[in-house]
Amino acid sequence: MKTTNLILNASNINGGYGKHQVLRDVNINVGAGEIVGICGHNGAGKTTLLKSIFGIQPLTSGEVVFKDKDVTGFNTSKVTALGMSFTPSDRPLFRDLTIVENLQLGAHIVKDRSLIADRIAEVMEIFPILAERRNLLAGRLSGGQQRQLSLGMALMVQPSVMLLDEPSLGISPAVVEKTFEIIKDLAARKGMSVLLVEQNVRAMVKITDRVYVLRNGEIVLEESGDDSRKRTDWWQLF
């Protein structure tokens, strides 16, 4: 499937943990302003793929190009400075710090204090609940509110691409729908791209422009959002 205005292109990605190879010649790309989903069974390599793109997990081979720049092997602070954010699935915030402190840490690479203050105000406008509870410890927020905070932290660097690992994890079904609507709205409003890993396929395909299916570390399907929304045989693909 051909995508114009590529902002992120990961090609021939191989990687894993020690001798255990998890990713096998994976090729994926994300266009400017596009929401791309990756789904697959447990252990298919989805999280490893996101971590490899972001530079947390070293590759054994392959290349990651972001905004026409080869960022393979870059550390996370460099990749973040270029405009990529990563929100992990598990504990995507600092529970012992307040909401404001979490947002400040989200902007760790930003040095201009007034800019940080402006962005905190902007995030709080998007998520009013965070403004109401600004001095509360993040660990005391509900699951859905914690997700909002983690998205807010990602927004603090005004990313061109957000990598989101299972944003539906740990939140109630009703809040899942809302969270995905927020992600879609943010992407449209900010002109951001999103690369989304998700187990909850039905919720994910409602907002994605394109979907990849990963099985045993290999891409076995790539299709448009429209086609994926019509698909009923997801389990056979997994």
Partner: protein, 301 residues
């Protein structure tokens, strides 16, 4: 009860407790950030004392330059332990036990190295006047009131220890560096995700911790002497202070050090000073038994 004795022991306890507080914060800072049980913190402690003694004696430098060289030695050796000892193991995903064993090995081997280079003698930190006469810095004046005495050095020890402890606590609570340390301590994966460079934070933390160890090493060498086993002997009590105060709380570690110093000193009312180490370890044992999270901590190790 002899109240003059109690007051004098309380003053001694305050002095020694302040030094324990400094050691406790130094150890707690490394442990909280990296989870490494950094016994090798004893090395910058001893290195600072020996380097200052060497600078004062062999180079005939002033006390301030000697202290500067001692502190520089502490920071350099502390960073070398991290870069050459811990980083390669962390890269290989070594367990915390492996890191502890390396730390233990280094802290046991270093006194032998000191013996080889400087001999087994006790070395006082003295400066020399133009005629070559030695003098112990900060020894005078001594302030006395009735039976109570306190030296200028004691005041320097208490004031500098608490100024440094407060500076570290303020940095952790109020600055971007402090937030990075807290982030790394509570959620290393997320710290990496927001672009915090773990290596840089570790370098800063080990530098600061080694500096604090160095200050404690020099303050103790000024009062006593430098000897090859001084590192482990003192820093082990600093570690006890951390567990007594609470490993999850740096402020608690500092207060733990102070209380430990006061208790071990005041135990002299009933027991001789030779029992102070036994009292200290008894306090640790009872703490782990009754309140494993320490006096001010939230969770046990």
């Amino acid at each position: 009860m002899n109240f003059d004795l109690v007051a004098q022991l309380a003053i001694s306890g305050l002095v020694i407790g302040s030094l324990y507080a400094l050691l406790g914060v130094s150890f707690g800072l490394v442990y909280q950030t990296s989870k490494i049980f950094h016994l090798a913190g004893a090395i910058p402690f001893a290195a600072a004392g020996y380097a200052a003694v060497w600078a004062a004696k062999s180079l005939q430098l002033s006390i301030w330059l000697s202290i500067f060289i001692g502190l520089a030695a502490a920071v350099i050796i502390g960073v070398l332990i991290l870069v050459l000892g811990y980083f390669p193991l962390i890269k290989k995903k070594a367990t915390l036990l492996s890191l502890f064993l390396i730390s233990l090995g280094l802290s046991v081997a270093f006194p032998n190295l000191l013996q080889i280079v400087f001999g087994v003698d006790n070395l006082p930190l003295e400066v020399y006047d133009a005629e070559g006469n030695p003098a112990v810095p900060f020894a005078n004046p001594t302030y006395a009131s009735g039976f109570l005495t306190i030296t200028k050095l004691n005041i320097v020890q208490v004031v500098s220890s608490w100024l440094l402890v407060i500076a570290v606590l303020y940095t952790i609570k109020k600055t971007a560096l402090g937030r990075s340390i807290t982030a790394l301590r509570t959620n290393p994966a997320m710290a990496s995700a927001v672009g915090i460079n773990n290596k840089v934070v570790y370098l800063v933390v080990f530098s600061v911790s080694s500096f604090l160890m160095g200050v404690a090493g020099i303050l103790i060498t000024l009062q006593f002497v430098a000897n090859p086993t001084m590192g482990l002997q003192w820093t082990l009590i600093g570690f006890i202070a951390v567990f007594f105060g609470g490993i999850t709380s740096l402020g608690g570690s500092a207060l733990g050090g102070l209380i430990l110093g006061l208790l071990s000193s005041l135990s002299g009312i009933w027991l001789g000073s030779q029992y102070a180490p036994i009292v200290t370890f008894a306090i640790l044992f009872l703490t782990l038994l009754i309140r494993p999270q320490g006096l001010f901590g939230k969770e046990a190790i």
